[in-house]
Amino acid sequence: MTAVEDRPVTAGPAKEVGQARKRKEDARLITGKTTWTDNMVLPGMLHLAVVRSPVAHAKLGTIDVEAARSAPNVVAVFTGRDLAEEQGSIPCAWPVTPEMVNPGHPSVAVDEVNHVGEAVAVIVARSKTAAQDAVELVDVDYDPLPVVLDMDRALADGAALTHDHVASNESFRWIFDAGEAGTGSSTDEAFANADVVVSRRFVQQRLIPAFMEPRSTVVQPQGDNYTMWSSTQVPHILRIMLAMTTGVPEHKLRVIAPDVGGGFGGKLQVTPEEVITLLVAKRLGKPVKWTETRSESLMSAHHGRDQIQYVDIAADREGNVLGLKVHILADMGAYLRLVTPGVPILGAFMFPAIYKFPAYRFDCQGVFTNKTPTDAYRGAGRPEATFAIERIMDELAVELDMDPLELRRRNWINAEEFPFTTVAGLEYDSGDYEQATQQALELLGYDELREEQRRRRESNDPVQLGIGFSTFTEMCGLAPSRVLGSLSYGAGGWEHASIRMLPTGKVEVITGSTPHGQGHETAWSQLVADELGVPFEDIEVLHGDTAISPRGLDTYGSRSLVVGGAAVVNASQKVVAKARTVAAHLLEASEDDLQFESGTFSVRGTPGSGVSIQEIALATFAAHNFPEGVEPSIDADATFDPVNFSFPHGTHICAMEVDTETGMVSIRKYACVDDVGKIVNPLIVEGQVHGGLAQGIAQALYEEAVYDEDGNLTTGTFVDYLVPSAADLPHFDTGNTVHEAPGNPIGAKGVGEAGCIASTPAVVNAALDAVRHLGVSDILMPLTPERVWRAIHRGGDGGDRATAGTNAYGGAQTETTAGVSTPESRLGGDR
């Protein structure tokens, strides 16, 4: 007998789902053999350069553009006044309360500038160089106004105003009270009856999404039609919003997101520059391109995080949590962009996390400052919430003199309690926190490290060791449309997919969820290969063009697989159902007698009979021999609207060394076990976890957008805005548990944001655990060596950093990178 004959006859080809397929899109993305937006060259194309404000708050006086207009190869110069009639306001799709104040957001400032980097004029030239050269020739009169930077002060009586025409710096106040909502009991009573109350103020520093590909937009007018290519996460939303703001009708506008090099929420936006590029192309009737520089990107693309969090937790002596109160000041920056006010609200429901709080109250104020607007950044609202709860749980453990893990165990939802409705009213789908935690402890080698920590403490070693936990969950897979409606969001949360069966048996999958580096093409191919029984290689995934993929809500909020992938699966199943009718006709059998396996329909119990789905695709194309009354198409589409979020969870443990002499922290070991439900591609999941960890660790240790007292962004280049590389990050020990999500046909939970949400508090908790015995109870993020050293040796939380940029590169700052040079900013200037 040969080995071949040994195989069981029923074994079909291995399932694609679950395989660690290398990503089919990577070769072209990594080698750059694709058309990024900035690679677009169109005949007669003009180039834009944006003149940006070097001051944070001022009335605009005269803007003298004559010199720029007459510069070589300059075609036109527009100021905000020139565009005022057409430009409308950058849309805010999430008015979180009916009373929310939206000051309006002109794409080019008209009367007033409100943050450094805001556009004040636009140069249009025949070359990018000519446009850039003319920037310096625009002479703008700025009549300075008081600059509002600090949120606590912005809300005080008599504070200077961020905008002249608003009554206060508060945009909105949004409250969720579990007692009032009927999902919990009264927080006041809970706190009144508590044995222990711990109150802390945490700061979520301002971050910059720092995607790899800078933003770029090209617009081509053709008659009264416009095609826009843009480096965006959200071509579909962009098209609708541009139609609503600029008056170009939706059916006359096609938006294409070609391959896009990262976004992390930073390209979930309708940007001033997209509006400007469209308006200029419309005015001049010529194709126009705008591509930002890295300096422009850092100062004017939206920022993320930036909250002050006042958190109170109540518990009894045994460590049972009784109540949680959260008061948040969320920095909106100068304007409201697409979902600016919604970001903290996305976090509102996550503060109770995995714990069984009987009482909860959340109170959030959106605050204007003269800084770049904030908006979504990987995790959007949920990292902030996770940080606050995981930090305060550690503080409570210290107060109770309890092991931090013991405290968590005592309060978390047990495996047998799922589905579990939380005090915030969410229904958590599935999971097992104990199992993930056990596995993570083993991965870390917990007992040994605790022992080493004890030894280092006893010997007073200058390098101390700490271990920090984050037992997190998050809500993702945005989102059930009805829930979004109840939160006043301007759109739904469904996703769309369609499947085209080509005559040669190949398959086109059209997805509305537009990737920008996640690997949709690979994962979707795996899903469809299993559903249709066609080879992985025979599937092409199309996306990102509103003319090809007409319906979609794009990629953010870890939604692509769990919402968009679900639509793909449902559409595939519709294809199979249609094909079954055709197969029954061709095989002259009843549909009920057919089985579909590995891509072939056959009559049950009749070996050798059979017709493949590829053959059916060809028969459908020919349509010569088709069942009576059936339209000759087996293509199908589906729109999936989830009934619930999905709730990935996991346990992240960080072991951290702290050099007490210098304050330098370094991660000794990082172990995490994530439950993201069913895993379609383990390689992609691991990649998402690694990238998320890098960004979460970066918030804890490296990144911070720093403004000086005049409102200049001093972290205006990557010299000062420190994005870590692989060289700066530890090896990650990762693992998974699998509790499938009941809410989608795949059983998957989102993974895009998990690592980023979970890791930050684990890292900070670890550093604090290393030095708490030296009297340190908090250190501001990022944990710069200076802050850690100060906290250890001078007390407090490490304090604010000096705001001056480093002297490398002559101390480049927004003041100078705004294109305005001052005597001080010259190389070798007086610093």
């Binding site: 990018k128 490296y702 000062d720 060596p785 200076e786 050293w789 950093r801 001056a804 480093t806 002559g810």
Partner: protein, 285 residues
Amino acid sequence: MIPAAFDYARPTTVDEALRALADGGEDAKILAGGQSLIPVMRLRLAAPAMVVDLTRVTELRGVRDDGDALAIGAMTTHSDVIADPLIRESAPLIAQATETVADRQVRHRGTFGGALAHADPAGDLPAVALALDAEFVLAGPGGRRTVPARDFFVDYLTTALAEDELLVEVRVPKLEGSWGMHYEKFNRVAQAWSIVAVAAAVRRENGHIAEARIGLTNMGPTPLRATATEQALAGADAGEAAIAEAARHAAEGTAPSDDLNARADYRAHLAEVLTRRAVTAAVGL
């Protein structure tokens, strides 16, 4: 961003380069590896009218044994410096410090001479050159002159180079006796500049420290010598206690700045800790 327009010359000899510099007048700039100049031009912090590119001047490249000194050509790239056997042999401190500079890509273009002529106080090589008592050979229209390291670094991004001069080579004296060396760099991410760094070269004799030379990076507008510590170490016992005691004087006479990586008092503290560590490593403890 895009630099402002400039004229460009690419000479092949030092003489041609000097003529191009003279023709360019006061708005001419020398381009070596471009790793500091190009970024500031792109940010439009510098807008030279004429750029004189030295990359084709082959006589400026390479390391020579010059008897009692090594002569390192100004255009020798960082990666060539790291790989050079003469430098490994006689001035390992230079190789060690250069290995901490930036990343591989930058080290393949950036040059030894460019890093010194740029005189960035956060740059790693100026303090090393100062600690090793290097001499700078400058060429100008009137011929060549030699400037000792302590006179070369004048102020923030300012050296003894006149506008019509260029740096030809750097002569690093070979050290006699039993020397140990160490560069201790303190920065936050791999490719970042030093917040503070210490270059130490120590000569041991009979269990004692006979002589110590200590250069400080980023403790003022120019690289500095930790003179008080050097004096305290001269003749001191080569043990932990004496080194620690001497290192406590490391920040004396320095003028570090405040920036978002460190305020001055913290820099002063770092100088002490890093000096102790650098000397300890150089001594071989």
